[in-house]
Amino acid sequence: MKTRLERREHLSGLLFVAPLIVVLILVAGWPLARTLYFSLTDAYLDDSANHVLVGFDNFVEVAGDPVWWRAVRNTAIFTAISVAIETVLGLAIALLVHGAIPGRGLVRAAILVPWAMPVVVSTKIWEWMLNDQFGVVNRAIVGLGLADHGVAWVANGSLLLGVVIFIDVWMTTPFMVLLILAGLQILPEEIFEAAEVDGIPWWKRLWSITLPLLAPTIGVAVLFRVLDALRMFDLAYVLAGANVNAMTMSIYARDRLINNQELGIGSAASTMVFLLIAFVAIFIVGALRLDRSGATER
């Protein structure tokens, strides 16, 4: 039995979240529902009112398209490699900056610059630097005698995904550094002093104390980055357009939707991207037990 006070608190709680729920339904629920609906139709973008329900035909078509699977593969490779590198690099830099090195305030500010730049801008900068004829990177390589002629970084299809990963690492490692640094700074200092007095060598301190205590933070950071990477669009699109060598799932969906005007198939692809990301998110959250860590770890 609920008391009247409990019911009243319950009601006022609902009242407080109501505006948020309305906004969420408007900006997320409605578009999502529309996309789901269109994914079951044969609609075209230029005349979306004129359509019939076709069941799961669109999903079957996308699943049968080798270009879709290429995009899935690209996205998976991109996500796995870039997040792995960003995590290791982010951890290393965070540990370095966390230590009392001279001028670390400046270093911290400088590290944030790539993260603060718009993706399009940094991608264009790198595209120019990696230009096969006029790029400063090739100039340096040839100038140092490392190669006779420049490398076609962006034009070469087999290198393209590597370049995308490289630029993403350059751009988003600061984000990792920042998150991990925040995690490092809330670890109690006395634990490390205790280890210092106990004569624990630095590698054992890192492996047996820092990393286990930092695991929840790293987990959250990886979760953020994986979800972000799985829906990556801007970087690859600015660099390579719909080039199949660097096509991500999001670019595939956009390609079908805008270029081919296939609203139904584009929606089906978008829905698949959404479901895939949702599954990965649920899996990671489950693996990290993020939802319960508050209750069991503290």
């Binding site: 006395e190 634990i191 002093e193 280890a195 210092e196 007095v197 106990d198 004569g199």
Partner: protein
Amino acid sequence: MASVALRSVSKSFGHVPVITDVNLEIADGELVVFVGPSGCGKSTLLRLIAGLVPVGVGDVVIDDEVVTDIPASKRGIAFVFQSYALYPHMTIARNIGFALETLGLSRQEIDAKVAEVAATLKIDHLLSRRPRELSGGQRQRVAIGRALVRQPEVFLFDEPLSNLDSDLRMEMRMEIAKLHANLAATMIYVTHDQVEAMTLADRIVVLNKGCIEQIGTPQQLYHAPQNRFVAGFIGSPRMNFMSVSANSSGAECRVQGPGNLSLDVTLSGPGSPAEIGIRPEALSITTQGQGKVTGTLERLEDLGHEHLAYVRIAPDVAWSVRLPNALGKISTGTSVGLDWRLEDLFLFGKDGRRLDHSLSHERSAAANGGRV
């Protein structure tokens, strides 16, 4: 086992001096307590000895070896933190044995040592738990166990009991005293709790603003404080003070102050008293007109085992009186007299140094043995 010495040690954080020219010799097997108000540098001094904070100027010597530039792990010390600083993700057994893992001992040897230490501290039933499942007192035992297992030459305790409630604090205090008696190890113990200091210490070091005010046995500090700071810091409730004026002719001196105070004392050294001090337990309440000063009884507190009375002597002077028995029929607001034996009187010069008078030798005698 080892002795510890500090030679002209100074330390600043930025431009803020924290420790100023500290010299200290601690004998092998001695238990020395650092006390002082918060911010006096006592914890910093302990960290300097541990090697957790680098020394600015001067030398730290452990077992006749200068260790100023030797890392904490090689100084043969163990440090017990106020926050316990247990590794939260490790079991109690691993917490205690963690330091041994890098010494190349076998699993069995480590387990044996951990079990032995755990048995000593009566925490053997907790070994498979994690720190968060333990109470504060149990965590403190684990922290001490972690220090014990390494068999250090010197134990350093940084306010180890201040996070415990008063019952546990008393229990752990006895525990540490017992430990010191059994191990005969050198221990340095930082606290702001003077009961801990008085009961545990072989010698107490009183610190104030980064300087040593006095080093001595608990009895010396209580009965023969060298200055006003030590006199006011040791003892609870604290010593009563009053500014006075003095007319001296030679060693004879007439001291006058609020509450109709007029005393004749014979100084046994140079200097002129600017302040007098009397401990609350040395005062007795008499009827008005008798006693050495008069004041108004402001408040009475019945603590069960003792009674505290507050007597206002002047607008800015209120003295506390500690009485073993209830005061009887005197009600608050009445005028009373305060009396004391002349040998219980402390005199302080303008610079805060204590001045000897003809009867203070009796106190010195008390400090170096039983009360006369």
